[in-house]
């Protein structure tokens, strides 16, 4: 499968709580419904995050996603499988991916 790739993994701000300072990581995979986030910060499975990132000319702020699965790679980084929770945000993502793919 030859998938589209951004020039580098998309950096993203990760908000876990209003009380805590945000974290950061990179989106290793992105689709309108789910994604994969790589970060050296540890987060628990099931946690809901708000992601802020840019894709092409579009900026996304506080895209809500839940951590479906967390796996730690041999380097010590965490790979988080995410499911986007808001269908409206997913539609925006889809449009941005379509735009970026042109």
């Amino acid at each position: 499968m030859n998938q589209n790739k951004a020039d580098s993994c998309i950096p993203a701000v990760i908000k876990t709580s209003l009380d805590l300072p945000p974290l950061w990581g990179r989106l290793a995979f992105l689709s309108p419904l789910d994604g994969e986030l790589v970060s050296h910060f540890e987060l628990p499975e099931g946690k809901v995050l708000a992601l802020t990132f840019e894709l092409g000319r579009a900026s996304f702020e506080d895209i809500r996603a839940r951590i479906k699965k967390a796996l730690r790679d041999p380097h010590g980084y965490y790979n988080y499988s995410l499911v986007f929770l808001d269908p409206a945000q997913s539609d925006l993502l889809k449009a941005a991916i379509n735009e970026a793919a042109r």
Binding site: V13, L27, F53, Y77
Partner: protein, 379 residues
């Protein structure tokens, strides 16, 4: 592993901390005070990654830009002096692989140091659900195909193993109606027919006709064969010896025997003829004249056809509904009789027999059809 890292850090205090951390991580750390110093030793040090301490001059963004200009693919990491995600993301956009938060510890830097040796990009797809669905469909189709192949293989194996085997046909109907003699060769079966006055050569497996030889001067009633010739008995009682060439060239002929024999065979030593009407078996010398040596009375009920091999005489007896085994030394003694299943047909009339390699062949008429069948020699 290539483990040299370059660290750009002006603060002596921070350098001390970082020296200890990278030593513990197993890295060979090369320190530079600033960007110019770093660029000066960059070619010589050839680091696997560069760590830049944030908050110094020039700003990290400029250092990232300059370093990327020199080495666009080298992993660059920024050591933040405070936890600031927005700045971290900005620095990552500017070219940093990742940023470490303060305080810098071995635990914090270990994954970054290790990760610095590998790089990849973001995989983007429009609809991963559709992709997964198509993968699932493909996997299901594959599983179905494998299952079907297994089922079909099992069915084929079971069918082959448990279904009854097709029986080799032991009986053939002939396209002519009045067979009178039969002899068996390795690759052909010869049958004479009195009505069409012809000698038919058949494929022994399919019984298709390979060749027809017309016997214009003879009406054949019996056939016998040796290795290199065949005998053809006619209705006039004359037995002709013919060569087994393509045209069955006549080699000799006897005087007319009376009564005219309707069965003949050669046991390798003597020639035998039989007359079904009188039930007479005659032993003869195998010369051109086929001189008579002795006559025997058939000991069974009714003789319809006779043949022989090197050990026995064999007779088809419709009265006994059997094939009868006789002694070559004393043909008036029945060694054994074995019922012939084909006699279940009351209209069957066996007119010719042949024996070859433990198998008895019969030719005859059954109603308005002619047929050939064989069976293994009875014990």
């Amino acid at each position: 592993m290539f483990n040299t890292v370059q660290i750009i850090c002006a603060s002596e205090k921070n350098r001390t901390i970082l020296r200890g951390i990278f030593k513990n991580l197993g890295a060979d750390a090369v320190f530079s005070n600033d960007l110019n110093d770093a660029l000066a030793v960059f070619e010589k040090a050839r680091p696997a990654a560069v760590f830049i301490a944030d908050g110094e001059e020039p700003p990290a963004e400029i250092q990232l830009r300059e370093l990327r200009r020199v080495a666009p693919f080298i992993p660059l990491l920024v050591l933040l002096k405070r936890r600031d995600a927005a700045r971290a993301v900005e620095l990552m956009k500017a070219g940093a692989l990742d940023c470490a938060q303060s305080p810098w510890t071995e635990e914090e830097l270990r994954p970054l140091y290790r990760k610095a040796l590998s790089l990849s990009g973001t995989a983007i797809s429009l609809d991963s659900l559709a992709l997964r669905r198509s993968r699932r469909t493909l996997a299901a189709a594959l599983a179905l195909a494998v299952g079907f192949a297994g089922f079909a293989g099992g069915l084929y194996y079971g069918f082959k193993k448990y279904s009854p085997r097709a029986l080799q046909p032991h009986s053939f109907y002939l396209p002519y109606a009045h067979p009178t003699g039969i002899i068996i060769h390795k690759d052909s079966v010869l049958i004479s027919d009195w009505f069409s006055q012809a000698l038919y050569e058949h494929n022994p497996r399919t019984f298709g006709i390979k060749k027809v030889t017309s016997l214009t001067e003879t009406t054949p009633v019996a056939l016998a064969a040796s290795q290199d010739s065949l005998w053809l008995a006619g209705t006039n009682g004359v037995i002709e010896k013919r060569l087994l060439d393509g045209r069955y060239t006549r080699a000799s002929r006897t005087a007319a025997f009376k009564p005219a024999p309707d069965s003949a065979c050669f046991d390798g030593l003597y020639f035998w003829t039989a007359d079904s009407r009188t039930g007479t078996i005659v032993k003869r010398m195998p010369g051109d004249a086929l001189e008579e040596l002795k006559r025997y009375k058939y000991p069974g009920q009714k003789l319809s056809a006779l043949t022989c091999d090197t050990r026995f005489l064999w007779a088809a007896d419709p009265g006994l509904k059997s094939v009868v085994k006789l002694s070559l030394d004393d043909p008036e003694r029945i060694i054994s009789r074995t019922e012939l299943a084909q006699y279940a047909s009351r209209s069957l009339k066996v007119t010719a027999m042949a024996s070859k390699e433990g198998r008895l062949w019969f030719a005859g008429e059954d109603g308005d059809k002619a047929l050939v069948f064989y069976r293994d020699e009875p014990k």
